[in-house]
Amino acid sequence: MRGLPSRIRWAVSAALGGLVANPVTTAVAVITLSATLVLVGGFWMALSGLETVLDRAAGQMRIVAWVDESLDAEAREALRRRVAELPGVAAVDLVDPGEAERRFRERFGARFPILDVLEGEPLPASLEIVPGAGARAPEAVARLRAAVSELPGVEELGYGSEWLERYASVLDLMRGLAVGIGAVLVLATLLIVGSTIRLAVHARREELEILDLVGASRAFIATPFLLEGLIEGVAGGLLAAVGLRLAVALAEPLLGDGLLWLGSFEGPGPRVASGLALVAAGGLLGLVGSAAAVAGGLER
């Protein structure tokens, strides 16, 4: 460290010295930070995975509008164009009676021979409406359905994705829980990190008194403690990232495809990004916790 500017050299050596001199409190802070990040990170992974599932399902969602039988092919096409122009609509497919019959036969075949005994075009034409990416939330879908149902020529609306609404409301509840639990955990961690830094401040009272005597500024005195918090936080974040990765790796053979929805740990890119996010979150927690402790502990 000989080439470093004197203030940085002092801060780094004082911070490392403090961490090494108090191994138990340092370990408590790092483990607490790590445990919090594992819990919050794990919950976040699960939540983001469930959201991915919801997005994928919502991407396959279709609103089916049955068309009035009295409309001819030209009128049906005009209706399709009107629906396509509605806000929130990504695409509209017109399924004419012939196509509907073909699909029915393909799906059910000889099990339901009812079509053989009916004359003419037994199945009505329909419009299959694909909501856009920004219009898949339950409220947006309801608005779109209302707009479609008001169009002349639309007889009835079908919607086979009611479960999505229930899924989305469960997800909303989980998000609320995640924020609540996360806030409590983060607060508890800040208190613990703050306490370890307060202990460090107390243990180094004499050193602080001497620094004060030789004219050290408040920033000079505080920097090693902030650095200690930051180092503890980063170490806790690293531990949490490794721990979560190991947990996923251990769970994979046991749960198999059940873990596929943990999208945030799929592929090397997201893994690194998730790990870095945990390390950054740990660093931030450590820094904020120590800043709060130092602000209270270094009153002149």
Binding site: W10, E206, I210, L211, L213, G215, A216
Partner: protein, 243 residues
Amino acid sequence: MSRPGRLGESGEAAGGDVPIRMYHVSKSYLAGSYALRDVDLEVRRGEFVFVTGASGAGKTTLLKLLFAAERPSEGQIIIRGRNVARLRSRAIPALRRQIGVVFQDFKLLTARTVEENVRIALDVVGTPAREARSRTFRVLKQVGLQHRRHHRPRSLSGGEQQRVAIARALVHAPEILLADEPTGNLDPELTVEIMDLLVAAATAGTTVLVATHDLPLVERYRRRTLHLAGGRLVEDRPAGPGV
């Protein structure tokens, strides 16, 4: 007893030849009870001054007021042209960088080497590493401890530890050096050794105030002596002839 002139009379920007001035300074910790009362004082640049008095006379309080460890209850303290009584907390470090302080109990960082203990006074002001090393070595040589620079304070004798404290107080070339009972823990031989270092600092132009209750020591050096009793400055005896 010499009396100071009016506030700012000399007009020097940074205290000029009189770096320490006190005007009617009192310090009270409890209502009606004074640790220091109505003290007027001027100390000139390069002057060596003893502050004497019995325990509780106000010696330590006087020094603490000078390096802003305490605020006066009344009066004004002008250090190098700046009124310490009105100094904001954030300006105190800058003041202390102009002052070296030595205590009876040395106040050294036990986990740091002698060199690091001395160098800290330069590190806090961001002195470049090479310059800090060279200045630290010079001042350690001055106090005769250059060969002990990599030792920890606990492996040194009391006299050596006090020399480290003096080196730390002098390494940033302060204008003022305050010493509170610097020889209180030392035997007579080491006492003389430490006092000679402090006198040498004054000879080199540093204003030195030494609080002590060791009257034989004061007689031996025959320097200007401020005598406190019950918080009042009761005598300001000039230096003996030939000093």
